[in-house]
Symmetry: C2
Subunit: 141 residues, 2 copies
DNA sequence: AAGCAGATGAGAATGATTCGCAAGTGAGAA
DNA sequence: TTCTCACTTGCGAATCATTCTCATCTGCTT
């Protein structure tokens, strides 16, 4: 249950937090903006403030429950931290986001950091391109 | 001369553009924010608007003269597009930025994009970590 | 049931970036 | 050189996303 997740990371179990966490878990869209979460909850009849959504997301992130991504040209999106680490490739035409994991790249990053005298703590890798015509759902031709 | 660069990319040669380009070329800091550029030019006695700086940077980027980077937790920074492509590693304590290029990673990205049915057009890779105590200039201990 | 630290909603405040517009200025034409 | 005009610029207003303020509310503990 989501209540457990919140308790486990030391967050008080409140209605707004539960609703946000539930939405993230049930949504078909893996990557959501604060606005989207706010809107969907509001449309669902919930009385919740945008500020609360931002606050909750920040806390969830700090607690390691979710991760934040900043794709260029778009707003910050959040996704549940489930399953193994992965990076993203974004279609610059339709916005579709695919995930991938590449051990070679992951290992290389660590080696590079070490070589440069850094203790690697995180990384952000996002590829940009156009998805194949068959799958691209871009608005204009 | 900078005038040439501007002409070559089809931009009219104007004082503001020349000043901004010159600053980018002469500055010891490779990565600068629009604000920094604006402030340094203003302190140098130039009469220039912040909006003009943003406009010029956007045009320079579109023309391929500079590249834009968005390191997490910081403002957008710009750097002259000179020399070969490279990615960055940023110290989360002192903010120091080092550059690196890794062929293995670059090649891998292309393969991944292809496998996923994307035509790769760009990518953003930034590593985060702490640089060695000897070189880190973090404010607090 | 009572008490309190922490949480929330609403709206104001921020900070970065973009817009709108009247005035200014390159660069080719005359 | 001067004329023209589309392109530029400075300035302030406007946006947009995100954060802050604060009075009110709500989970837990006792
Ligand atoms: Zn993802
Ligand atoms: Zn697409
Ligand atoms: Zn660089
Ligand atoms: Zn450092």
């Amino acid at each position: 249950m989501e209540s457990e997740e919140l308790r486990n990371v030391g967050l008080k179990v409140t209605t707004p937090r539960l609703k946000i966490l539930s939405l993230l878990e049930s949504s078909k869209a893996k990557h959501m903006t604060a606005e989207t979460i706010y809107r969907q909850l509001s449309e669902g009849g919930e009385v919740i403030g945008l500020a609360t959504v931002y606050r909750a997301l920040a806390q969830f992130e700090a607690a390691g429950l979710i991760t934040r991504h900043q794709f260029e040209g778009g707003q910050t999106v959040f996704e549940l931290e489930r399953g193994p680490h992965h990076d993203h490739i974004v279609c610059v035409r339709c916005g579709r986001v695919e995930e991938f994991y590449d051990k070679v790249i992951e290992d290389r990053q660590r080696e590079i950091a070490e070589k440069l005298g850094f203790t690697l703590s995180d990384h952000a890798l996002t590829l940009y391109g156009e998805c194949s015509n068959g799958t691209c759902t871009a608005k204009n031709g």
